[in-house]
Amino acid sequence: MSVEQVLFWAFGTCIVVGAAGVISARNAVNSAMALVATFFFLAGIYLLLWAPSLAVLQVLVYAGAIMVLFLFVIMLLSLSETESQGGRMTLSRILGGAAAAALLWALESTLLRIAPVARSMATAPSRDFGTLKSLGVLLYSQYLLPFEVVSLLLLVAIVGAVVVAKSRI
């Protein structure tokens, strides 16, 4: 096994375990910490996919900013009470598990059929593939309009968050 395979299986196992922790933890704070761990291992997977700039953004924006926001809200609302139904098999759990399993089966059968098309994983990409410089050039040339629209979206989100969360203006 090459180093890439070892890292892929290690990170993949940690991601699945972390996601299982997110959906199974009783306490919301434990869910949030499992989600932070999942995001870190996902950043490792992004590095394996030659996307170092996206991996750094993942750690900075997701594991940093967004999860701190989540933890702030959890602690602000003091949601420490656990959910009432423990490890019982309720109807919604059975139906949800069946739906998720059906979707997974459909996705996997489709993905395994289209996978042989893309076979250029063996060749290493060019030197500037995935660097911050080439990503910036792409964003400011080909994707300039979406970039500006998304900055407007962030502005609207800031104003909207203040307006919605404030009790009285």
């Binding site: 996307a51 996705l107 964003l139």
Partner: protein, 100 residues
């Protein structure tokens, strides 16, 4: 070398786990975290195809997904604070009406 299909199947597993959490959990904040898991699975798919096709457009798409997720988290958590302030719970089984 790890083939593209491995990355895609990992993304599919992550997406389905997020969907299971959205369908099953009752705490609105945990449901929100599971939505973040599903967004990350989509990002992983974008990056896997970008690597396979040696095309950086997938990186731009993943970048935009991260930005939209940040905006969504800010607005969604503000809405949750407003909901919790008006009715004192975040259990989605008890939140049935828009107006309270």
């Amino acid at each position: 070398m790890v083939p593209t299909s491995h990355y895609l199947i990992l993304a599919a597993i992550l997406f389905c786990m997020g969907m299971f959490g959205v369908l099953v959990r009752r705490n609105a904040l945990v449901v929100f975290m599971c939505i973040e898991l599903m967004l990350n699975a989509a990002n992983l798919t974008f990056l896997a195809f970008a690597r396979a096709r040696q095309d950086m457009s997938g990186h731009a798409a993943a970048f935009f997904v991260i930005v939209v997720a940040a905006a969504e988290a800010a607005i969604g958590l503000a809405i949750m604070i407003a909901v919790f302030r008006s009715r004192g719970t975040l259990n989605i089984g008890e939140i049935k009406t828009m107006k309270y």
